[in-house]
């Protein structure tokens, strides 16, 4: 477990900023204590200072997970967000997409969001903008990338993809063993 290098921090922040923009600051600079990102097994964990100190008592090879996993760095040094980060992204998300109840399940099985299933969308959403997907009951379901802008979404046909699926809370079940 080590702190992120500048490079890694940058890639991660770039990714995060797609979803929550400058609200990353609120994750780093929290009023309720010192929180930090740590890299362990190519995964980035977000934890409080307290937990960090506790985790120092555990050897690296035995440590499975600590704090909250935000995502992992791929072999090509790209950052991929995990669904576990949703709890921290959802409250700060700038652009949101609400999915109709009918297509909720479809999204939760890992499918993209179609225009037909699109219930609501934040205006001025740019193309390829990271969005957090909510159910109509405002339950965060996951996040994705807007395939179309808000304006385009109006005109597009019902079966066209509006939001690319990236992660959903169904992964907690589907990929339980790989989620750490």
């Amino acid at each position: 477990m080590r702190p992120l290098t500048d490079e890694e921090t940058k890639t991660m922040f770039e990714k995060l900023s797609k979803y929550i923009g400058e609200n990353i600051k609120l994750l780093i600079d929290r009023p309720d204590g010192t929180y930090c990102f740590r890299l362990h097994n190519d995964r980035v964990y977000y934890m409080s200072e307290k937990i960090l100190k506790l985790a120092t008592n555990i050897s690296r090879d035995k440590l499975v997970s600590v704090g909250t996993c935000f995502g992992k760095f791929t072999k090509t040094q790209k950052f991929r967000l995990h669904i576990t980060a949703l709890d921290f992204l959802a409250p700060y998300a700038k652009f949101k997409v609400w999915v109709k109840p009918g297509s909720e399940q479809s999204f939760l099985y890992g499918n993209h969001v179609m225009k037909s299933g699109l219930g609501r969308i934040t205006e001025n959403t740019a193309q390829y903008q990271g969005v957090v997907v909510y159910s109509m009951a405002d339950v965060p379901l996951g996040f994705g990338v807007a395939a179309k802008t808000t304006q385009e979404c109006r005109k597009v046909d019902p079966m066209s993809i509006v939001v690319f699926h990236q992660a959903d809370i169904g992964e907690y079940i589907r990929s339980e063993d790989t989620l750490t």
Binding site: F13, S17, E22, K25, I28, R30, P31, D32, E49
Partner: protein, 1232 residues
């Protein structure tokens, strides 16, 4: 004969017609016509049946002719019908009759006969090929071995198919069974097992012998039961009293055996061993209780005595503790209940502590006495007498000392004393067994006499009790049933138990009650004599002694009489003593007797104490208890010097008691010390109590005292506490305790004594208390020995708990000491007087030294006893004595003060142990023990110890720093990514969730200033609004102080003139009216000005310019000012217009404002100029001039019209333009 149906008959067809018509074809026997009708009764259908004897040809002809032929309005339909059931029935019956007449033919025989005819014999056809059919029988086939078998038709399962099973086709499956020669028929099979006469075979046969009661089994069960009991005991008590247990078992067994022998009935059921035992016990009890009791007593005494000796040798404090425990067994349960409350009580009832302490002490003695009582009072008396006779005074004394030693062991503080007393304790151990051995020898004969006497005394006591106070009586009554219950419980299981139970429950309970009453009585008597505490002790001593003497027949008549009297009168006294006045009369006699007895033994009280000690080995504890009680009583009673003096005397006589009462009186500590030295088991409790007192003056802490004796103490303490608070509760508690433990009774008495002492200044006679203690102790060993079997079991169980308690209490003490050492330093110093150099010799020396002081008290006491009437005088004299005694006590204390200091030091935090380094040092020291040679001082401290600490702290700081740096870095990166300026927050001042609803404004907190409405808050408004405001501010005429001031000043002058004017214009009606209000206003203003002044004070910066500086001015001037103000208000109302005017342009407003200002100036000046004041107008008012102009045309009508025409066009254009604009504006909104 056929039955025909003829349908379609006409309505008119009759039966006869039918008969005639069908008569042609045959003989018609029966005709029946049926008519079907609808709901209304109209015939729908008509048909008939006929029975006709007809041939088939005739029937065909008939059908051919008549069928479908119309006849009388109907088309006939002729069909064959079923026979009528009546006809059929008749036929069947006829057939049955015929069958019965016909001979029966068996088909089997028929078959066999037919087979025979076909050449088949016994279903065997010889020389027949399988498959050949038997002629005449279609379904019979020859099968293998020439058997003739039937062909079977089997119905397929679930199918309608029928399989034909031809056995000839399955011949190959058939085998021939070779039948054995000797074939046994089923009836000849072995239906019975042949066996001998042994039980197993019989049981196999199902023959069970009649159940016989086996005597061996019952015995085994009993022994098992006993062993179980012993096991329980063993479980409870780890080490102590194995021998006692064995003895109990043996006794129990023997008792059971005896009971069996005597018992006639035999119990068939082995399972109900306990019940059997109970029954046996009951039977035994009924038949000859006396015999069993005597035997039991003998056995118990022997066994216990041996055990006791062993115990005493094995465990220093164990014997007495065990005894106490045994005595406590019954009461321990109650104690346990109170255990948890001990600490709380300590905290809550510090003041009552002394009382509680006294109670526990007394309890110990009661327990002992209770044991004795339980065994037998006569035994006690005899034992005591024996002790006195046989054992020298010195031996008893040594025993006492031994008790002290045990106490010391229990108490950490008394370690020094313990070391000194070790030799003594050894002596005691040797001596005690002797005494014990003697005790068993004591004749039981006297027991009967004594109990009876006691009972009589009790009865006597009961009546007075009832008469005197119902409450106590109630308590006693309540306690009685409990005792009975215990009897039942104990009596059932074992004879030994029975013995114990009868002894304890029946006799002891009564005796205990009696004793308690007696004690109380004696106490009351003592109190009457003036020294209640001392009296109580004396009375108890007297009673005990009297009993002993009676038993031994060596006791003085005085003692006996006194004991009896004390018993009889004691109850009354107790009850009265609570009232506090009445009991005194009875007391003197008993006291005198006691004193006399004491005196006879030893002229001086110190001597008495010695004698008492000599007489009773264990009495020392009681003495100490009594002394404690006295001390506590003294503390409680008054904390007055007089009490302290009495305590001092006591202490001197008793010896050097460890610190006693709460620092209030130095004498008390002495007493406690003496008690420690004197008392063996009880001394530990006392010392604990004294320590506790010293530490925190916590009475309850005594309850927590861990010594085995202390077990009794908690209960007693609790009880005492309650008693202290209210006498009634004490009684109740005591009654409870008495049921279980006799000690509780003693505690009750002690409580009563305490209470009495509290109420009245207690002048305690040391000797008396000592005597009491002695008596109790004497009684104790015997009783313990006798009761030990029972009690030991329970006691052993509770021993472990007591030890735990001890530890806890010690810890508590330490904590309390540490906490209170600083807080109550002054008091503690006074109170803590612990003398550790008190050995036997020291005690004696102390006694000798104290004797000179004590004798006066004794003399006085004796005098007082003689003078039964003069209680008050005695008290006063006692006080004086005490005062005299004080100096000696103080000397003792002086020596003790050093010890106190040492104690204090123990709990002081030594500077070298402060801090982490100090902690390490302390640990090091602890590892090497306390030996100074091995003490590891600061030199051994590693120099890098502190740096280590720093190093430890450093990484944390580093980590924090690193985290901060990391955060900064990440923020920088984030900044670079977002290309925005991100400032790190002040971490601690971030957003925190605040519940607004729970927010309360606290003016003392600076943060809450935000919630205050700021008067000078710059509001950010739009420019226009700001400008408007500015304009408005400009519009508003400045109300400068100067202006008003000037006006007011002017008005002062004006006032006079206005008055003059008013005078001149009296004729004017409205003016006159105005004047009247003015007069009213004058009055009003007086008050108003005063109010105004107040307002000025209260309303800080707000000042009325009118009144501000003019408060000194006369009220008249003020009235003028008021008037002016009203006038001004009017003006402003006029001027208020511009504010509401539509200000199209700012300039206009400014002009207006200027005008207004000028106007206001004018107006303000007007009143000065125009001295006549009307309500609204002034003389030469401009408005009046302007007004009329409004009603007249200033311009000609034509000119006006022309101007209108010109204006009109422009107005129209403007209107259209506006309309257009509005339309244009509306459109986009619609679009959107």
């Amino acid at each position: 004969m056929k039955r025909l149906y003829i349908g379609g008959l006409g309505h008119t067809v009759s039966e006869k017609d039918l008969k005639d018509r069908f008569g042609k074809f045959g003989d018609v026997s029966d005709v029946e016509i049926v008519t079907r009708k609808d709901e209304n009764g109209a015939p729908l259908k008509r048909f008939g049946y006929i029975n006709i004897n007809i041939t088939d040809a005739e029937y065909k002809r008939c059908v051919g002719i008549l069928n479908k032929s119309t006849w009388k309005g109907g088309t006939l339909l002729i069909q064959l019908a079923k026979e009528s059931f009546l006809h059929r029935l008749a036929e069947e019956r006829q057939q049955l009759v015929e069958k019965a007449k016909a001979p029966k033919i068996i088909p089997q025989e028929k078959l066999v006969d037919s087979f025979k005819a076909a050449g088949v014999e016994n279903f065997h056809m010889k020389a027949a090929v399988p498959g050949t059919e038997i002629p005449g029988h279609a379904n019979w086939v020859v099968s293998k071995f020439g058997r003739v078998l039937p062909v079977v038709n089997l119905k397929g399962k679930g199918k309608n198919k029928v399989f034909k099973y031809d056995p000839s086709k399955h011949c190959h499956n058939i085998k021939r069974l070779e039948t054995a020669d000797d074939v046994t028929s089923v009836s000849k099979l072995t239906w019975e097992i042949k066996g001998g006469d042994d039980e197993i075979s019989k049981k196999r046969r199902g023959e069970f012998p009649k159940q016989k009661p086996c005597p061996k089994r019952s015995k085994i069960d009993l022994s098992l039961f006993l062993s179980n009991l012993a096991q329980r005991n063993a479980m409870n008590a780890a080490a102590t009293g194995n021998k006692n247990k064995v003895a109990i078992q043996q006794n129990g067994l023997s008792a059971v055996k005896t009971g069996k022998q005597k018992s006639v009935c035999v119990f068939d059921n082995d399972s109900d061993s306990e019940d059997e035992i109970r029954m046996l016990v009951a039977q035994e009890h009924l038949r000859n209780p006396k015999q069993t009791s005597t035997e039991d007593d003998d056995d118990n005494l022997e066994v216990v005595g041996d055990d006791f000796v062993v115990k005493s040798n094995a465990f220093w404090g164990g014997v007495e503790q065990d005894d106490v425990k045994t005595s406590l067994l019954t009461s321990t349960k109650d104690d346990e209940e109170y255990d948890s409350a001990d600490t709380d009580e300590i905290l809550t009832r510090r003041k009552t502590q002394t009382q509680a302490e006294s109670a526990p002490v007394t309890q110990d003695s009661p327990t002992e006495s209770s044991k004795n009582k339980s065994s037998s009072e006569s035994d006690e008396g005899s034992d005591e007498a024996d002790d006195e006779d046989d054992v020298s005074v010195d031996s008893d004394y040594e025993a006492m000392m031994g008790n002290c030693y045990r106490l010391d062991l229990s108490l950490a503080d008394l370690e020094q004393l313990a070391k000194k007393a070790e030799v003594i304790s050894d002596d005691e151990s040797v001596e005690e067994p002797k005494e014990e051995a003697k005790t068993p020898s004591a004749p039981p004969k006297k027991t009967g006499n004594n109990p009876e006497d006691i009972l009589a005394s009790l009865l006597v006591d009961d009546t007075p009790e009832k008469e005197s106070k119902k409450k106590k009586y109630q308590v006693n009554t309540v306690s009685l049933p409990a005792f009975i219950g215990t009897k039942d419980l104990f009596g059932g299981p074992e004879p030994s138990l029975k013995r114990l139970a009868p002894n304890i429950d029946g006799e002891s309970s009564k005796r205990l009650k009696q004793d308690l009453k007696l004690k109380e009585q004696s106490i009351s008597e003592d109190t009457q004599s003036s020294n209640r505490l001392s009296q109580q002790k004396l009375s108890t001593l007297n009673i005990q002694r009297g009993a002993k003497k009676l038993e031994s027949k060596a006791s003085t008549s005085e003692d006996d009489s006194s004991s009896e009297e004390s018993e009889s009168s004691g109850d009354e006294d107790v009850f009265t003593s609570k009232t506090s006045s009445a009991s005194q009369s009875v007391v003197p006699e008993t006291e005198l007797k006691t004193v006399s007895s004491n005196n006879s033994k030893t002229p001086v009280k110190p001597n008495q104490t010695k004698t008492s000690r000599s007489s009773s080995s264990g009495s020392s504890s009681e003495e100490s208890e009594s002394s404690e009680d006295e001390d506590s009583a003294g503390v409680l009673t008054s904390k007055t010097p007089s009490v302290a003096q009495s305590v001092k005397t006591i202490s001197k006589t008793q010896m050097k008691s460890v610190s006693s009462n709460n620092s209030k009186t130095p004498v008390k500590p002495n007493q406690t010390k003496t008690s420690r030295s004197s008392s063996s088991g009880s001394s530990s409790e006392e010392s604990e109590s004294s320590e506790e007192e010293d530490n925190a003056k916590v009475l309850t802490s005594k309850t927590s005292l861990a010594t085995p004796l202390a077990r009794t103490i908690p209960e007693t303490e609790l009880k005492t506490v309650s008693t202290n608070n209210s006498i009634k509760p004490k009684q109740t508690k005591t009654s409870r305790s008495s049921s279980s433990d006799s000690s509780s009774e003693e505690s009750e008495t002690s409580d009563d004594e305490n209470s009495r002492t509290q109420t009245k200044d207690s002048k305690s006679a040391d000797s008396k208390s000592v005597q009491e203690n002695v008596v109790s102790h004497q009684t104790v060993p015997h009783s313990t020995v006798i009761d030990a079997k029972k009690q030991q079991q329970d006691n052993q169980k509770r021993l472990a708990a007591l030890e735990q308690r001890q530890k806890e209490t010690e810890q508590q003490k330490k904590l309390i000491q540490g906490a209170l050492s600083n807080v109550d330093a002054a008091k503690v110093n006074k109170s803590k007087h612990i003398v550790f150099d008190s050995d036997e010799d020291d005690e004696e020396e102390d006694e000798t030294t104290s004797r000179p002081e004590q004798p006066p008290t004794n003399l006085k006491k004796s005098l007082f006893e003689d003078d039964s009437g003069s209680d008050e005088d005695q008290q006063t004299s006692m006080l004086e004595e005490k005062k005299n005694n004080k100096p000696g006590g103080s000397k003792l204390f002086d020596s003790e003060d050093e010890d106190d200091g040492a104690e204090d030091e123990q709990f002081q935090i030594k500077p070298q142990f402060e801090g982490k380094a100090g902690q390490k040092l302390m640990e090091l020291q602890a590892s090497f023990g306390t030996d100074s040679r091995f003490q590891v001082d600061s030199r051994f401290l590693e120099s890098d110890a502190e740096p280590e600490d720093q190093d430890e702290a450093a990484p944390e700081e580093d980590a924090d720093k690193q985290l901060l740096e990391e955060k900064k870095k990440s923020l920088d990166i984030l900044q670079s990514i977002l290309n925005t300026n991100i400032q790190p927050q002040n971490t601690r001042k971030g957003k925190m969730f605040k519940d607004v609803s729970s927010l309360h404004y606290d003016p003392t907190q600076e943060e809450h200033t935000a919630f205050e409405a700021k008067t000078e808050e710059p509001k950010k408004e739009s420019k226009a609004a700001r400008r408007k405001k500015r304009i408005e501010a400009e519009k508003l005429p400045e109300v400068s102080k100067d202006v008003y001031f000037d006006i007011s000043v002017d008005l002062k002058e004006v006032f006079g003139t206005s008055k003059e004017n008013q005078d001149k214009k009296e004729t004017v009606s409205w003016d006159k009216e105005a004047e009247d209000p003015e007069d009213i206003m004058k009055h009003m203003e007086v008050s108003f000005t005063s109010n105004a002044e107040a307002n000025e004070d209260t309303s800080g910066g707000f000042k009325f310019s009118f009144f501000g500086e003019d408060t000194a001015v006369e009220t008249t001037t003020k009235t003028d000012e008021y008037k002016i103000e009203t006038v001004k208000g009017a003006k402003f109302s006029w001027q208020a217009d511009p504010r509401f005017q539509d200000s199209s342009s700012d300039e206009e407003e400014v002009d207006e404002v200027e005008e207004d200002q000028s106007a206001s100036n004018e107006i303000t000046e007007e009143p000065t100029t125009s001295k006549k004041t009307f309500f609204f107008f002034y003389q030469n008012d401009e408005r009046l001039k302007e007004g009329p102009g409004m009603f007249c045309r200033s311009v000609k009508l034509q000119d006006q019209r022309e101007a209108w025409e010109e204006k009109r066009t422009s107005l129209r254009e403007e209107c259209r333009k506006k309309h257009r604009d509005a339309k244009r504006r509306q459109r986009p909104s619609l679009k959107t």
